[in-house]
Symmetry: C2
Subunit: 240 residues, 2 copies
């Protein structure tokens, strides 16, 4: 008997219509579906595609630690070992991943553990960054722009350095780092260009002027876009 | 009579299955479809979704200059004016855009010309960068990585500076700039990490070791990925 195939399936930012045809096909036909869940009970990735999952499909919830201080490795190892036993029995397994699997995706942990042992196919997904740009009508990068994705978890000096060396940017993983980032944007004169969005494409999505964001409101699922600086500057490009 | 809606539809990197459900719905129902064509006769975006277009749909080819020396603005203005006349008559128009519309997409030119006058909805698409990463099994960015997209058209010193300030990168728009980029990667000690791919997800896709790429072969539709440096370094993460 041959082993099963491991699929890392990007399911996009949240809006069900932003699934790819390929992700849709795999999710509706694969015998086993695995997805991260939080120790606090949130099962976000599954919820986004819940109506596509049939009772015939085997589900593998993969609990992850809620606290960022806890190492997630033992959790991924436990999940990988469950997934591996299905693959060994010849069953294909799709691991759901919000956004894109290879772009800050949770799938990379499982990939690292299982790719050396099983055939893998990665299905790219729409990143929340592109979805947010589409919603906000914000051109991210244009012509010869450098575009950078910068986690807010980095040190203040590093964020300032990286921001000053790109033409457009997305700042992710805001959470409790939001005040630091907003201060940096004010200092660099970027605050008027910066756009803040929470839970892009979800039903409870919110777009808030960045100076009006309340610190108590910040969620992990928020990001800041700094649209391309060069896009606005092409002065001969006026509407007819 | 109300005006029509302008859709900027990301159709992804090439593989038809990487269309989103939303792009599929809009493409198969919208009365007017516009797409870039090259003066040299290539009609790439349309070819990728040709079997979805019905004879009832009105098509607007948008010729663009083949030579990069020619200004594309008059071409976009001519296309925008054709699109505008349909919108004014209440017909929705979908403009096809390879990859993602707001991420180095051709749609931004049309957007700039028409967004001030008509309602617009942008549909994000899978970028060729994410598609290439999925195909190559290349983790682009991980945890607190900075990820940068760097056009090869930039000056040597700028490319070196930007590359030394990120953890993962994609280098796009290679074309005749490939030799400069390969030399930079050798100098920075990045050549062994760098992955080269042409026409990711197309039927004539090619993956070639970067040191074996022939300069005569380089196409505009090629890119280099430099996967996350931190992904490989987590030494306790061995396969079980």
């Amino acid at each position: 008997m041959s082993v099963g195939k491991l699929y890392g399936v990007g399911i996009g930012p949240g809006d069900r219509e932003l699934l790819t045809l390929k992700a849709y096909r795999i999710l509706t036909t694969v015998p086993v579906i695995a997805y991260p869940t939080m120790e606090n009970g949130k099962v976000l990735a599954r919820a986004l595609v819940a109506d596509l999952i049939s009772p015939q499909q085997i589900e593998i919830p993969m609990p992850l630690p809620f606290s960022p201080e806890k190492s997630s490795l033992p959790y991924y190892q436990a999940a990988a070992s469950q997934i591996a036993s299905h693959l060994q029995q010849g069953r294909d397994v799709a691991v759901l991943c919000l956004g894109d699997p290879m772009f800050y995706g949770t799938f990379m942990y499982i990939y690292k553990l299982l790719a050396p042992r099983f055939p893998v196919e990665v299905v790219p997904g729409i990143s929340s960054i592109m979805a947010a740009a589409a919603l906000l009508g914000a051109p991210l990068s244009y012509r010869d722009d450098v575009f950078s994705v910068i986690p807010a978890t980095l040190q203040r000096e590093t964020i300032i350095d990286r921001l000053s060396r790109c033409d457009g940017a997305a700042i992710i993983k805001l959470g409790r780092h939001f005040p630091k980032v907003r201060e940096i944007l004010r200092e660099l004169g970027l605050i008027d260009r910066a756009l803040y969005i929470e839970r892009a494409t979800w039903v409870n999505q919110r777009v808030i002027p960045i100076e009006e964001v309340q610190l108590s409101d910040i969620t992990y699922w928020s990001l800041i876009l700094i649209p391309s600086n060069s896009y606005g500057k092409i002065s001969h490009c006026h509407p007819q």
